[in-house]
Amino acid sequence: MRIQNVGVAGFDKAAGIIVQVIAGGGFPVIAWQKDESGLEKSKKELSEALGNAINSGFITKEEKEDILNKITFTSDMTSLKDADVVIESAVEDVEIKKGIFSELSGLIREDAVLATNTSCFSATEIAGSAGNPQRCLGLHFLESVRGTKFVEIVRTENSSEETISLAVEFCSELNIECVVVKDSPGFLVNYLFVPYMNRALEAYDQGLADKEDLDTAIRMGLGYPKGPLELIDKIGLDKHLHLTGQLYRRINDPRFSAPSILNRKVEGGKLGIKTGEGFHSYK
């Protein structure tokens, strides 16, 4: 296997899932972030996320320690220069992502793979700012409420076959389920999930059922791990609003247009569990 050293560039929340999967799979990870001050915050958030994973029974205490020991946090980008693959997972802002891609492509080896973890932008567009886009692709990491991890390997217009098969091999090495998908808006999972969630929010707004009954029906009747309202509270209403808004802009399909109740809640500061209230209250 050609991949030994993995870099993660930028450390948004989703990056926590990436390092869990990769360090958990036995690979050392160098986690780079632009500013020194953000490093402490990231470390803390990651440690918390791993703590939650222990509480949910997804990992053991020892595994948490193992994972943390495999990660080197740094604010010096040149630490990434020997990485075999770098996964960009900065905030969901296309200009920032492009900037990181262009800087990294001048820094890392010619044959190193450059991936973006974007969920709502075009991986092809982001790859366009790298010197040689053939070695670029999307690696979209997802975690379900059940704790299962999953990767969408996004084939951009310019990804080489070698880059894609290396990613597939890497996922099997990590023992994580993956599919190779087209670089179309929302890829596969969000393309199917976002309209479902929007439909649920709209139906709730129209009084189909009260919030407990709606969640209970979906959980018990369809067997989904969480009902839609408790799930969006966990995801963050602002995060869903951003995702659906960006996808709508690209697809222009009304199923992706943000339901008005979502805008109202976000405008009212009700972002979900993290603010103590979304659809349900956590105070």
């Binding site: 409420v145 998908v181 596969l188 479902y196 709606l214």
Partner: protein, 293 residues
């Protein structure tokens, strides 16, 4: 509870009716099961017997309890007069407005005047069914999930004329049955079919449009979202004929494109690719029932 309230009628004993009858008898109600076909009654009785035999084997009930249920609690009949002591009647006949109106108006002749009529309809309007019943204030929706003898959830839906008393008594009855009730507005598909029909059609459309393969979409939904089954695995259980019928029933009432069956659904029905029951749907099933063989 009065002697009367211990009797429950189940109209139609196909897939759903037999499950509902099992739930009712298991909860201790004298359950009168009515069907127009003797063969349907015989099949249902055999199915119930097998189900309770399994419950005994699993240690969920004693052999004596099973005998009591099969011998005393469950009555199989083709005659509506047998409903004369029922406080609740649940219909699970064909999904057809006229048939449902007819069975309720027949039951209306045989049942005491306070009897509540619950319909297990998936896509029809409670209010429309009630309109032919002769007692619209006492008609309510009780939508069980398949298989009813296993799934606890029931969607309870009031029609325009359903009285508060009917609603309250239904909630109490549902709890006695040991089911979990959720209350929904009267709207085509209630909660479950509203979401699952649209989601499945979205997935079929994504496949039809070449976004990804059947296997990849199933994998993404199971692992990425943690759902118990991929949409195509589920559709092969549901049957493409049912998907087509339910989609059209919802679309014709709501006119929302999300419910419109993608053209592939009709083509699969025409080709006989209905799912597991014909050995081929989105997957192929061999004689062993395993896909891919």
């Amino acid at each position: 509870m009065s002697e009367k309230s211990k009797y429950v009628g189940v109209l139609g004993c196909g897939t759903m009716g037999v499950g509902i009858a099992i739930v009712s008898a298991r909860a201790g109600f004298n359950t009168i099961v009515i069907d127009t076909q003797q063969s349907a009654l015989d099949q249902a009785a055999a199915f119930a017997d097998k189900f309770f035999a399994k419950s005994v084997k699993k240690g969920k009930m004693s052999a004596q309890q099973k005998d009591e249920i099969m011998g005393e609690k469950l009555t199989w009949s083709m005659n509506y007069d047998a409903l004369d002591k029922c406080s609740f009647v649940i219909e699970a006949v064909f999904e057809d407005l006229e048939v449902k109106q007819k069975v309720f108006s027949q039951a209306n002749e045989s049942c005491p005047k306070e009897t509540i009529f619950a319909t297990n309809t998936s896509t029809l309007s409670i209010t429309s069914i009630a309109a032919g019943s002769g007692r619209p204030e006492q008609v309510i929706g009780m939508h069980f999930c398949l298989p009813a003898q296993v799934m606890k959830l029931v969607e309870v839906t009031r029609g325009l004329q359903t009285s508060d008393d009917t609603f309250n008594r239904t909630v109490e009855f549902g709890e006695t049955l040991g089911q979990v009730l959720v209350n929904t507005k009267e709207r085509p598909g209630f909660i479950l079919n509203h979401f699952i029909v649209a989601f499945n059609n979205d997935c079929i459309r994504a496949y039809e449009n070449g976004l990804a393969s059947v296997e990849d979409i199933d994998k993404a939904v199971k692992h990425g979202l943690g759902y118990p089954m991929g949409p195509f695995e589920l559709l092969d259980y549901i049957g493409m004929d049912t998907q087509l019928r339910v989609s059209l029933a919802l679309f014709n009432q709501i006119h929302d494109h999300s419910f419109y069956p993608p053209p592939l659904v009709k083509r699969m029905v025409d080709a006989g690719f209905l799912g597991r029951k014909t050995g081929r749907g989105f997957y192929k099933y061999g004689e062993s029932g395993m896909f891919g063989t």
